[in-house]
């Protein structure tokens, strides 16, 4: 096999099943801390959901129940986004930079593409886990049908892949952990506010609505919310297409930047 990523950092991603042991390595670490981690995945969004759902929902016309459902579906998208981003930045960076885990892997018959692919799928899995935790809460409390929650799983995985890929580009550029705070504060937080997580995007001024349609999270929310409710949105192909495009472009850019960083 010719290893072209070494001589040409713009080579297309070489995806192989070799990413699996990288994923399994991260999974094993997670499993050791699973109880605390799952508890956090469940309790965190529940506090947000119940606080905002009942409090804010109560003062809104239409009552708490429907707003709770609305918010829960939005949180599936935003929690997936945050968990995947966090894993692909802070955690991946410590494996790449601090612990030298990536260096050790690269001494084995593994390519950098395998490592980055493994991190991508792993971070997406972590995101999915957060999304599924919220879906479970919504189902248990009767704010989403089980069938809708199950149908939303592939969409949540796609959101996870998208934000994992984007965060891996940040990882490739970072000189330290501080760098990620800028991305969280300047990119992710505004995106969450404008993508229809807390209120329908239709409430925003027309110009802002147009701008919001650029955000991947907007498409994530627009895809997930109807599916959780039990209907496939008519424009689902557009929303999924935009997410796939962000994921593919993000992954490619992340790979190019990471190759330049580590293989030069």
């Amino acid at each position: 096999m010719i290893n072209s990523s070494l001589t040409n950092c713009y080579a297309l991603p070489a995806i192989s099943r070799r990413f699996v042991p990288v994923w399994r390595r991260n999974f094993l670490v997670w499993r050791k801390l699973a109880v605390a981690s799952v508890l956090g995945n469940l309790v965190d969004p529940m506090i947000m959901l119940f606080g905002l759902g009942y409090g804010l929902g109560g003062v809104m016309s239409g009552g708490g129940t429907s707003y709770f459902s609305f918010l829960a579906a939005g949180f599936v998208a935003s929690a997936t986004m945050y968990a995947a981003s966090f894993e692909a930045m802070f955690s991946a960076f410590s494996r790449m930079h601090g612990q030298k885990t990536w260096d050790a892997i690269l001494n084995a018959p593994m390519d950098l593409d395998d490592v980055v692919t493994g991190e991508l799928v792993w971070a997406a899995s972590k995101g999915l886990l957060s999304g599924v935790a919220i879906l479970m809460v919504a189902v248990v409390f009767g704010y989403a049908p089980l069938s809708g929650a199950i149908a939303a799983v592939p969409a949540a995985m796609l959101i996870g892949l998208t934000f994992a890929a984007l965060a891996l580009t940040m990882n490739a550029l970072a000189q330290g952990y501080d760098f990620f705070s800028y991305y969280m504060t300047l990119v992710l937080t505004p995106m969450m506010m404008l993508s229809g997580v807390f209120f329908p995007v239709g409430q925003l001024p027309a110009a802002v609505q147009t701008a919001a349609a650029v955000f991947p999270l907007y498409h994530g929310v627009a895809l997930v919310r109807p599916i959780v409710g039990g209907t496939l949105p008519p424009e689902w192909l557009v929303h999924a297409g935009v997410l796939i495009a962000y994921a593919a472009a993000g992954f490619y850019v992340a790979l190019v930047l990471t190759r330049r960083r580590l293989l030069s």
């Binding site: 010719i2 290893n3 042991p21 612990q99 001494n107 084995a108 018959p109």
Partner: protein
């Protein structure tokens, strides 16, 4: 015996700054080959190039019959690496570190589990398989890293400064294990700062500086070729004056470094007699070693 590693006219620059400049050498199967040089000489970059972790600007590498970097991954199936910096997984136990690492070689969990007891025995870590990494001493961690590098039963072991930072006991144990591996027929390629280590372990070695090969040979050949057999190190008040007046005629080479005068000679007796006439001078008379060769060829200037 065929060559385990062939390197031809290797060149690599970083940001226009040449780091490796026309390095060439061959490591025969079954030998322990040392790469020596001061900090910044290009040793680690040369290793990275040989492993196919970065592409050379020019030159050719053949590692265990595979072209590098094009077939580097295939070559690395038969290679074990002990990196300079600790890269053990702090979240895992000793045994989990080996299990997870073996998977990167495509080994099945059962095959890895079957190898772990012997590897832990070799590393002197039997009974420690469930220990957390942070409970291990520096020497234990290095031995575990060595065991990890052997998970795929490699033909060639690459070690980047394997004993840096270890105390003498831990260092001797690593040396012992490396000799054992040579007995088993494995090929070793190592970098080191310790001349004693190179002299004890290496069948042949290469001294490099500023990205170039300065000399290559067995430790004994290099000492014979580059340096007088005996050394007298002299300290004491006005040893400089003694060196200027007396030592110059009695030694083939005299080097004054700070408070010490190094006299290199074929025969030390006349020097020792002269020192005896200056009771305030103290001295150390010893055989020339690889460190003398190293310092002669690369200079005594500090490298950072």
């Amino acid at each position: 015996m065929s060559a385990a590693l062939e390197v031809r006219e290797l060149a690599k620059s970083y940001g226009g700054e040449p780091v490796v400049r026309g390095v060439g050498f061959t490591v025969e199967a079954g030998e322990c080959f040392g790469l020596l040089g001061p900090n910044g000489a290009g040793k680690t970059t040369t290793l990275r190039l040989c492993l196919g972790l970065t592409a050379p600007d020019a030159g050719g590498i053949r590692l265990l019959g595979h072209d590098v970097p094009t077939q580097a991954r295939d070559a690395r199936r038969r290679v074990g690496v002990v990196p300079q910096l600790d890269s053990l997984d702090p979240d895992f136990t000793v045994a989990e570190n080996l299990l997870v690492y073996g998977r990167y070689f495509g080994l099945g969990d059962a095959a890895i589990a079957a190898r772990i007891p012997a590897l832990l025995g070799f590393a002197g870590l039997s009974g420690r398989s469930d220990a957390r990494i942070h409970t291990l001493s520096g020497g234990m961690k290095r031995r575990l890293t060595l065991a990890r590098a052997l998970i795929n039963d490699p033909d060639l072991l690459v070690l980047d400064e394997p004993t840096t930072g270890l105390d003498p006991q831990a260092r001797h144990l690593i040396w012992e294990r490396l000799r054992q591996l040579m007995q088993e027929g494995k090929t070793l390629l190592l970098t080191t700062h310790f001349m004693e280590e190179a002299e004890r372990l290496c069948t042949r070695l290469l001294i490099m500086d500023a990205g170039r090969v300065i000399t290559l040979g067995s430790p004994r050949e290099l000492i014979a070729a580059h340096i007088e057999p005996e050394v007298v190190e002299v300290h004491g008040p006005r040893c400089d004056a003694w060196a200027g007046q007396r030592a110059q005629g009695l030694a083939s080479r005299v080097e004054s470094v700070g408070e010490t005068v190094f006299c290199y000679t074929q025969r030390a007796d006349p020097l020792l007699e002269s020192i005896a006439a200056h009771p305030r001078l103290t001295y150390l008379h010893r055989r020339a070693n690889l460190e003398d060769v190293f310092l002669k060829l690369t200079g005594r200037d500090l490298r950072d």
